[in-house]
Assembly symmetry: C2
Homo-oligomer: 470 residues x 2
Amino acid sequence: MTLRLDDTHDAALRSWVASANAPDCDFPIQNLPFGVFKRRGAADAPRVGIAIGDRILDVYACHRAGLFAGQAADAEAAEAAAACDRPSLNDLAALGRGPRTALRRQAGALLKEGDDRIRSQADWERRLMPAMKDAEMSLPAVIGDYTDFYASVYHATNVGRLFRPDQPLLPNYKYLPIGYHGRASSIVASGTPIRRPCGQAKADDAARPSFGPSKVLDYEVEAGFLVGPGNALGEPIAIGEAEDHLFGICLVNDWSARDLQKWEYQPLGPFLAKSFATSVSPWVVTMEALEPFRVPAFPRPDGDPAPLPHLDQSGIAGRAGLNATFELHLLTPRMRESGNAPFRLSRANCRDLYWTPGQLLAHHASNGCNLRPGDLLGSGTLSGPAKENEGCLLELTLGGKEPIALPGGESRRFLGDGDEVILKAYCEAPGFARIGLGECRGTILPAHPLAGAGGIGPGNPSAGDSPREA
Amino acid sequence: MTLRLDDTHDAALRSWVASANAPDCDFPIQNLPFGVFKRRGAADAPRVGIAIGDRILDVYACHRAGLFAGQAADAEAAEAAAACDRPSLNDLAALGRGPRTALRRQAGALLKEGDDRIRSQADWERRLMPAMKDAEMSLPAVIGDYTDFYASVYHATNVGRLFRPDQPLLPNYKYLPIGYHGRASSIVASGTPIRRPCGQAKADDAARPSFGPSKVLDYEVEAGFLVGPGNALGEPIAIGEAEDHLFGICLVNDWSARDLQKWEYQPLGPFLAKSFATSVSPWVVTMEALEPFRVPAFPRPDGDPAPLPHLDQSGIAGRAGLNATFELHLLTPRMRESGNAPFRLSRANCRDLYWTPGQLLAHHASNGCNLRPGDLLGSGTLSGPAKENEGCLLELTLGGKEPIALPGGESRRFLGDGDEVILKAYCEAPGFARIGLGECRGTILPAHPLAGAGGIGPGNPSAGDSPREA
């Protein structure tokens, strides 16, 4: 199957915004992701913008200035631009592919090298295109429901092996995308500090559990898929239509307290071990921008079952997967003081997910569950076949048994107070411009003072603080 | 510890609304629950009302008519009345106990036998107090997050015994309230038809799973606790303050497809087996109205651990529990055609929950997870020590092995298409007026036609359709 490429994917396209043309820029004119921004210190409400280089296109301000309305034929673009006068992407997401594509096309035309319509407007730098450094970003959407999957067979196998060496994967794994509901209220924007949670945990050698700050705090590198148009309750989404219900992708850090998780998670799954915080990146890269990076779905090894019909994507077999590289960087307080750069702990690719974004979405709705615009589907920890592809400390340190050496002589088994965790992602393919997802950051704060606990060091668990599945 | 009783709990109180004084009325003047109503066929937006007998007090309309403002001293009641001009209880819930209590006290004064302030208003029956039969009820709140617990030790033991005869309860059960996140989008108002979900299931004797309509559809009788004022992310709620964060209780039917659940639920818990629908009753009975029915927490048997400090309610030991009876009635199509009344399948009491409402809430926030006004906490299936106390068919039929005989010669292992499930609940205690929670209803529709399946009969699973935990 061919990709849905058009002239917006032309690698030769350049913007008159010079920073967008730098080869390592996440936001070239081929990307144009959506996010929710607010001018720092200004009284205006947050609204939807488009990232271009180091600036933000204020879509609604451009719309009011007649920069979209001037293109008389394009009612869809105008409709989408009007939906950008909101503090979330939800209304834009609800409009679906047509209006979104029309808006991105017109925004691209405005930003293209040689176009001077924006620059001919008075005070355009402040009014229409604030600098990113002068803006605050919020959560991109009001996330009604957050679902977390377990789509990396490498992650599931690595974690399963810690507990069931003979049967790392359970029998259902290759038949359906395992998932569970996450907590929506505690999803926070990138940059929000993350307070170390307290909770019950029980050391393997203890007679009883005790309550206190988590000693085994971890991150999880995930791809986040934001839902576009939803479905009515009771009306499944056919697998062939699943892609039309996806808006785009972002970065997700599914913070996890492994000691709490180990004690609480049977029989109904993770709960307080995850619900204290989930971080999400500000910019959502649209499915259209990702089109050049669509690749075949994960090649199922011989002997693996074919997907059942409601998950069968053979109609788009050549492009059901996604080639996007996710990196995890760590910056400890000591590294920060020494002026060291964050240290990369892992790098993995979405193409290694056993289940595709479309399969996750179609499975989710297959029982009639209604998805709503702006709902978030997390891939689950994104790991790959090699050690350097492992997307959480639980895997990288084998449950804390093998600490990771950091520059400057430090090591980590799990996260310490003051540690900053930075996710990045980008797409690269020969013949196409590189596009990026930006960053998702979070720094660990000490546990709540009422817990009566001091700071926690670099997470050196006792034998009893061994890890837990997921 | 003493209960917080006042003159609003006086059993001798009567209303001038005659229907409220009937001995079996759910909504006497001692109750005054909140719900969201709309006059049938009228153009007005839904808003918050108070149930009294067979009528609804339109709180905001009374407020505009000066019926609360006239009571000059009571700014709190006026604030709460103003928050009733909304299509959900959320803003009222956020205000907390003070304004809610003040409003209920004034509403009670308006409705008390002898008071004629309402009846002296022009057109009061239509404007200020529509009949319930002329109103449509919506979901009581915008439920941001729905959490489902597993607080009945009888349910957990009965279900666990089906799988682990030697160890029905897992070691964590008596140390912390087991819970998991539910799906918020698919929570529906009482009366909404419930479409039988499709999904993957695998018979024990099958080599592979298959996709189709659930054959093992069940209900779960639950108490729902609606959150009042929330907490900030990262700031736990102390157990001693937990009751101040509860708004009131309602009925919840946590519909469950046991065959889907059995196949999907390891290792991360229930997902599509539950997310197709959850029904909630329209009226929320406040914690204040429940005060006469507060009882000691579940008496932990000798040998059970004492709750850890963050769950220790010994400060309110005499009233941490709740005496409320929940009933489940079934009406099959044949019973309906024959003019038979719904048949009661079970009856259980909240006082038999191992964990109290306050413990569920404090545990939920103990890791810093932020609860928001209007969030819903489900108790989990409410079962008791006797066979007739079992709150789902999974328990009542021992996983489908022992069908239940119904009047008219029918039987059920699980739910058939057209079956209507009706939950009711009420509180009774010597010396106090009986109060009720009303009803929560739902009728099973056949599976989605795209699933290519005809109707499903009364759920007679094969040996392979054996049940699953939770």
